[in-house]
Amino acid sequence: MRQSNTYILLFTAALTIVVGGLLSLASQGLAPAQKISVELDTKTQILSSVMDRNELAKLKKDEVLNLYKARIQSLVVDINGEEVLKNAKGNPMIAEEVDISKNYKKTPEERVYPVFKYMDEKDPTQVDAYILPLYGAGLWDKIWGYVALKSDLNTIAGTSFDHKSETPGLGARIASSEVQNRFVGKHIYDDAGNLVSVTMVKGEGHTGLTDHEVDGMSGATITGRGLTDMLENYLSYYQSYFKKVNSGSVANL
């Protein structure tokens, strides 16, 4: 009986239903917790570009979320620096939910660009730093992160990078605060006001770097180049927005 085709069909059908049901139950049941996890992860990354990562790691879940709520105001702009209020489905646009990697597949003109404003602790109408997402290619796979610019939109206040599968010990060092802190205080514009971004040089242990260069990572030249490109590309996409902010034409941007 156990070998008959009918039995096998019935058995596998029953198994499929039980297993399928179990998995969809688990998926439904865990969805809210997963959503919070992803949200917390995004918000921690955004905050870590302006805050000490170790300090941030000490905070509890709620504290991070509360801090984010208190200090970050977000909006989404297009390539021309105009605020985008609705997403493709017509729902209100939420900066935290913009998927940068999906956007990356579109042309730069069609993408939307989130801006996270880190507000002053005492005066919540003053912007301390503008945090912008970045996305690009490393040596093996994608790399991404955030760069925070001070309110002059020129000085880098901090960065936070992450990667999918850069070489451990070499390119993977972009995720360490040691490498990320090298960008702090560098400027993205030259004296004439042209965007030059910040370049990660080849090799490590350089002295006498200019205002637009950071020390490289030994053995990870291509990851460093990816970092440089990613930074330059994304800073260039936000140029119209920066101009609007600087001219003060739109108060709430």
Binding site: R2, Q3, F11, T12, L23, L30, Q34, D41, G169
Partner: protein
């Protein structure tokens, strides 16, 4: 991935009432820890042993996940062993393992997103971990549930302790830390000499070397030789 043939189910000795931890049952647990270790002797599950042992913390999570999957899939398959049609048994085993692995992955994503990002694909790859399928086919299909649980525990911990030892040395030599506690920095600050970390250890080659040394030590002690 190893393709070696699976061992025959062990003959269960029929006793009127067997003790909870009889000698035979103890052996089910202790054998895979030492002389019948899935990694060092059967050379199963090497792929993940190389991939996730760069640091202790993800290795620990991976160990727990593998123990969980192998124990529960052993139990479930053992409970169903008399109703599974033998012609589709591999597919049934696969379905059970895949379900458990997906559950682990979903739970990790919900409650330990950091680890989910680090382990990512490797948790999913427990499905293809030869140890799990190997135990189901070789043991759970022919033994009672309680014995199968013990067998799963043995194999799971046999896998776990080896990868934890590998991860210990790889993290210590490769990153100069244990569970992200910076040992090398502490030595440099307190004892005054600086040790260079070894980049080879963060590569898969490092795992091969340490695994090789463990196998060497074990075999020179047990006198085991390949036939």
């Amino acid at each position: 991935m190893s393709t070696e043939t699976l061992e025959k189910p062990k003959e269960a000795v029929k006793l009127p009432v067997e003790e909870l931890f009889s000698k035979r049952r103890k052996k089910l647990i202790t054998d895979p820890l030492g002389e019948d270790n899935p990694i060092t002797v059967q050379v199963l599950g090497i792929c993940s042993a190389l991939a996730i042992t760069i640091k202790m913390e993800p290795t620990l999570i991976m160990s727990i996940a593998v123990v969980f999957v192998v124990v529960f899939s052993n139990l479930i398959i053992s409970l169903m062993r008399n109703i599974i049609p033998s012609r589709v048994r591999i597919i049934v085993q696969l379905a059970v393992v895949a379900t458990l692995v997906t559950l682990v992955s979903e739970v990790l994503k919900a409650y330990s997103y950091e680890m989910y990002k680090v382990l990512g694909a490797f948790v999913g790859l427990i499905i293809t971990n030869c140890i799990v399928m190997g135990r189901l086919e070789a043991f759970a299909m022919g033994n009672k549930p309680y014995d199968s649980i013990l067998d799963g525990l043995g194999s799971g911990f046999g896998y776990a302790w080896i990868i934890l030892v590998v991860a210990f040395f790889r993290e210590l030599f490769g990153s100069g830390s244990i569970f992200d506690i910076k040992i090398y920095d502490w030595i440099a600050n307190n004892l005054g000499f600086h040790i260079q970390t070894n980049g080879l250890m963060v590569d898969s080659i490092g795992a091969f070397m340490i695994l090789g040394i463990i196998i060497w030590i074990q075999r020179s002690k047990s006198g085991y030789v390949e036939n």
